[in-house]
């Protein structure tokens, strides 16, 4: 048992980031029914933004400075690539996000180079030891930032004025427009928040293990998480993030000796299994439309 615990703590730390990332992804899906295939690139660009700011500022300040920049980036994406396709088939918008993903992927490599970059400086060490178990600073920071932020967003979505407006728009956009809700502005804001969350997750990853083009593959885990939690469930995304983190930790501990490299494939196996058994996910809307 005691040799399993470090794995579990690492899994929870990863899971917090998955949850954060999936939260933004699901928020966009609910509000606009667009599956954002560029979410991995949002993470990548966010991490690189943090890296760039960290060259001039102390790290905590750089992480803070990257957030408004990311928000702006999300709004630009919405204005530039999602808005012009409004009213067209949703498939077209999803294709556009695939095109955007490819562009950002290559663009980031051209701007920042293909090699792994480490952030100068680090966050204050919050790691501690209780008995035999060592909890790393990374895990503490991830949980400390992700959990309150995720739960806070859930609360905002449920209680605050803007949360209610977002839910109204996702319920029925035309009706929301007729009621005078500033739909365009709020949808842009939703994309901004999504990019902001991705950036925070990217920054935390960058602090722990540097920034490189491979970060995109971590971003792609948002799909297993979102499907597992239910594609339209914001709370489910947070929960499923932790579950996937723990699943990966268990696979790392027990399966890696038998099937090397299997942990990389596991999340995607989860996708297919969930689609087969429970396509609405853990907390998703049960009245999923079948055809």
């Amino acid at each position: 048992m005691s040799d399993l615990l470090p794995y579990l703590i690492g899994g929870l730390a990863n899971g917090a980031l998955y949850g954060l990332l999936a939260l933004g992804f699901v928020l966009v899906y609910r509000a606009t029914s667009v599956v954002n295939f560029a979410i991995g690139e949002f993470l990548l660009v966010g991490a690189y933004l943090t890296y760039t700011f960290a060259l001039f500022l102390p790290l905590p300040l750089a992480m803070l400075a990257a957030l408004p920049a990311a928000f702006l980036f999300g709004i630009i994406v919405e204005r530039g690539f999602v808005r012009p396709l409004l009213g067209r088939n949703v498939v077209a918008v999803i294709m556009a996000t695939i095109g955007l993903a490819s562009t950002l992927d290559g663009g980031a490599q051209l701007v920042w180079g293909p090699d792994l970059k480490y952030l100068p400086g680090s966050l204050p060490n919050l790691g501690f030891q209780t008995g035999e178990i060592f909890v790393s600073s990374r895990a503490v920071w991830n949980l400390l930032l992700a959990l309150p932020l995720g739960l806070g967003l859930l609360w905002l979505l449920r209680r605050s004025r803007y949360g209610i407006l977002v839910r109204a728009i996702s319920e029925r956009e035309v009706a929301a427009l007729a009621l005078g809700i500033p739909t365009a502005r709020i949808l842009a804001g939703v994309w901004g928040v999504s990019a902001l969350l991705a950036t925070l997750a990217g920054a935390l990853l960058a602090v722990a293990s540097g920034v490189g083009p491979n970060l995109v593959f971590l971003g792609l885990k948002v799909f297993p998480v979102a499907i597992l939690g239910g594609l339209d469930s914001v709370g489910g995304a947070l929960l499923a993030g932790f579950i996937l983190g723990i699943l990966e930790a268990l696979s790392q501990r027990y399966l890696e000796t038998v099937l090397p490299g299997f942990t990389e494939a596991l999340p995607f196996l989860v996708v297919l299994l969930v689609l087969l058994v429970r396509p609405y996910g853990l907390l998703g809307e049960r009245q999923i439309e079948r055809v």
Binding site: V35, N89, S102, P114, F223, L275, V291
Partner: protein, 355 residues
């Protein structure tokens, strides 16, 4: 002046434009005007004699483009036909390639067919859960399949040879080894031509019309009596079959199969072909494949001219260009190159006096 313009326009229409189709036979024809028929036959003859006209390297590129066009046509039947997105097209090609790599030499054509069959079966298995749910689940399921397939390609050593992959001897037909691109070209034609004519015809049949009905509005398609799941599954399996056959041919061209031929970026490249080509026509798939596959070649020659230090940036530039192509065509010209061509043609049809 009006009379002159009308006369010119009419003369042009009679010669070059599609005539009004009055019978089913005319509607089914592959080319509807005499000139169109002539062009079709000339094109087929050109395809047949192409190895006599081109050198070894252009021939290699031509074979690559033909295989790419075949695969793009498969994806196109799914995306442009039935309106579903697949991000696993490269993985299906990989399945076909690995299957074909086990039947080589004289058995190669059989292996290629088998590769298509296995890919189609896998498509059915993958499509069954994800196509029964309304929405974008297929796109996510195929993304998952792409990564799972990559894992299997890299780790199932007994069948795929692991990361090193497999090499295979050239195909043989009647004792003649198809070891150069200009010989392999005929094997590619043997598979590609029937599949192209089938794809072209398919969109005119009941099944193809059902694809389009599902794409345009699934509710009204259902009201009209279309079996949604069946149609989507058929489209998906068919697209996987085309990909599998193309993958088998690609294995013959490269004479080797390794996992790195079939990553996610290749899947996106095929999506780019479909969007760039555009608009539910077979011509679109060919134009798209031609355009998208020639970009890396052009970039390569740029790098050759500028020096090897830019080679690292090449992959990045390729991603940027594919992405921008997808975005640009989606936003500016949703009908793709076919739509662009149609606009140019219409412009010249009424050319001197457009009003």
């Amino acid at each position: 002046m009006y009379a002159l313009s009308k006369q010119l326009t009419d003369a042009y229409s009679r010669r070059f434009a599609r005539a009004v189709r009055e019978t089913y036979k005319e509607d089914e024809a592959y080319a509807s005007t005499p000139l169109g028929r002539l062009a079709l036959w000339a094109f087929l003859a050109l395809l047949f004699f192409l190895p006599l006209l081109l050198g070894p390297y252009p021939m290699y590129v031509a074979t690559l483009v033909a295989i790419g066009a075949l695969s793009a046509l498969g994806l196109h039947l799914l995306v442009g036909g039935a309106g579903q997105i697949s991000l696993g097209h490269a993985a299906f090609m990989g399945v076909g390639a690995y299957a074909a790599s086990h039947l080589y030499g004289p058995l190669a054509p059989l292996g290629i067919l088998l590769g298509g069959g296995i890919a189609a079966l896998l498509g059915l298995v993958l499509g069954l859960p994800s196509l029964r749910i309304k929405g974008v689940y297929l796109a996510i399921a195929t993304l998952a399949f792409q990564f799972l397939a990559d894992y299997v390609f890299k780790n199932w050593e007994a069948v795929t040879g692991g990361i090193r992959g497999r090499t295979l001897p050239p195909a043989e037909i009647l004792g003649l080894a198809l070891d150069t691109p200009d010989r392999l070209w005929y094997l590619v034609l043997l598979f590609a031509l029937p599949l192209f004519f089938y794809g072209k015809r398919l969109l005119m049949t009941r099944a193809g019309r059902a694809f389009m009905a599902v794409r345009d509005n699934d509710l009204s398609a259902r009201v009209a009596g279309v079996d949604l799941v069946g149609v989507k599954l058929l489209a998906f399996a068919l697209s996987a079959f085309y990909a599998g056959v193309a993958g088998g041919l690609l294995a013959q061209l490269y004479k080797a199969v390794t996992p790195e031929y079939f990553p996610l970026t290749v899947s996106i490249q095929y999506l780019a072909m479909v969007i760039v080509g555009g608009a539910g026509t077979v011509l679109g798939a060919v134009l798209g494949a031609f355009f998208v596959l020639l970009i890396p070649e052009v970039l390569n020659s740029f790098v050759g001219a500028l020096g090897p230090q830019y080679a690292a940036a090449l992959a990045a530039w390729r991603n940027v260009i594919f992405g921008l192509l997808i975005l640009g065509f989606l936003i500016l010209e949703p009908l793709g190159l076919v739509g662009l061509w149609g606009r140019i043609r219409n412009y010249f049809r009424t050319w001197p006096l457009p009003y």
